[in-house]
Symmetry: C3
Amino acid sequence: MWLQREVVLRARRRGFHLVTDEVLAALPELGEVRVGLAHLFLRHTSAALTVNENASPDVRRDLAAWFDAAVPEEAPLWTHTLEGPDDMPAHVKTALLGPSLTVPVARGRLALGTWQGIYLCEHRDAGGPRSLLVTLWGEE
Amino acid sequence: MWLQREVVLRARRRGFHLVTDEVLAALPELGEVRVGLAHLFLRHTSAALTVNENASPDVRRDLAAWFDAAVPEEAPLWTHTLEGPDDMPAHVKTALLGPSLTVPVARGRLALGTWQGIYLCEHRDAGGPRSLLVTLWGEE
Amino acid sequence: MWLQREVVLRARRRGFHLVTDEVLAALPELGEVRVGLAHLFLRHTSAALTVNENASPDVRRDLAAWFDAAVPEEAPLWTHTLEGPDDMPAHVKTALLGPSLTVPVARGRLALGTWQGIYLCEHRDAGGPRSLLVTLWGEE
C-alpha cells in the first residue's frame, strides 16, 4: 500500500508547535496499515520538523529560546540579509532540525512514544501556511 | 518483507555510546534482505540516535563535551526545570540530533561505511533503558 | 521496485554545496517511479547531507560561517586532534546535520519544494570524493 498526500499546515507564529493532531486528521487511511512507515516532508527551507515532548508548553518555549540564542538575528556572520533579519537564521535552524521525519506505523497508529509529539518548527516571523508532503506505505 | 520489533537498549550513563552490535544482535533476519532499509526510532524525547565514528572513544567523549558546552544546564533560558537540570538540555540535544535513523541494507548487511557506527546519544543522567522500535523492509 | 546504487560525489572544498543535479544524473530510473521515496546515505563521518535553499550562494556561505563559528577548530574541548584541527569539528557538524536524507518521489520526480536543493556539507579541508548510497523504492 502506498499513499501520498499534501497536507497544508495552517500558518503559525514563529516558534515550536505541536501538529500531531493536524497530521493524523489528514491521514484517515492510517488505520488500514498493520506495519509500515509515515514519511513527512516539509517543502520549505525556513521551517523544520522534529519530534519532542508533547506535554509541557514550557518545553516548546525553551526550545525556541535556545535556537534564537544559538542562531541570533544580529550577527556579523550574515551576508544573506535581503529577505529580512529572520531569514538566514531560519535557514540555519532548518539545517539543524531537518526538513523531514519518518515515523513507524504499527497496528494502524503512529508508533510514537508516550511523550512524543510531532513539531512544526516555524522559524519565520510570517512564514504563512506550510506544505507538508506525507508518504505512507506498508502492509495492510 | 516487513519486520517490526522493539529492541530495549540497556541503560547507559549520559554520553554517546556505540550500539551497532546491540542493534545487529536483535536483527537476525537482516541476513535475508537483499536490498532494503532499516529504520530505527527511539521512542523518547531526551535521548537521540546518530551515526558517527566507530573507532576512537575520544570522538564520543568530544561529541559529549561539545553538546554539554553548547546546551548548558545552567542557563537563564530555561523555564522548564521541574524535571531536573539535565532535562531541558536533553530535549534540545535530542532536537539537534533527531530521534531516528534510516540505514540502507545491502546483501544482508547494514551498508554502513567503514568508519560508521550507530550511536545512542543519552542525554539524561539516569535515562534508564531506552525503547528502540526497529522497522526492516525490503526484498529477499 | 527497488534500486540501490553507489554514487561517488566528486571531491569538493570545505563548505556547503548543491548536489541535486549530480544526484539526479545518477538516477535515470527515477522517471519510472509513480510514487515512492529516495533515500540518500553518505557513508562518512565528517561530511553530511541536508536540504536548503537552492538559489542564493550567500545562503551556503552563511551556513558554513555559522557552523564554523559554532564548532570552532581551536577549542579546549577537543582531545581527538590526531587527524588534524578540522577533524573533530567535522564529526560534530556531521552529527548536527545527519548522514542521510529521505526525499519523496512523485510522478517520476523528486518532490522537492520550489526553493529546496540537496546539499553536500563537506566539513574536511581535503575530504576527497564522497560515497553516497542511494536507495530508491516505490510503485511504478
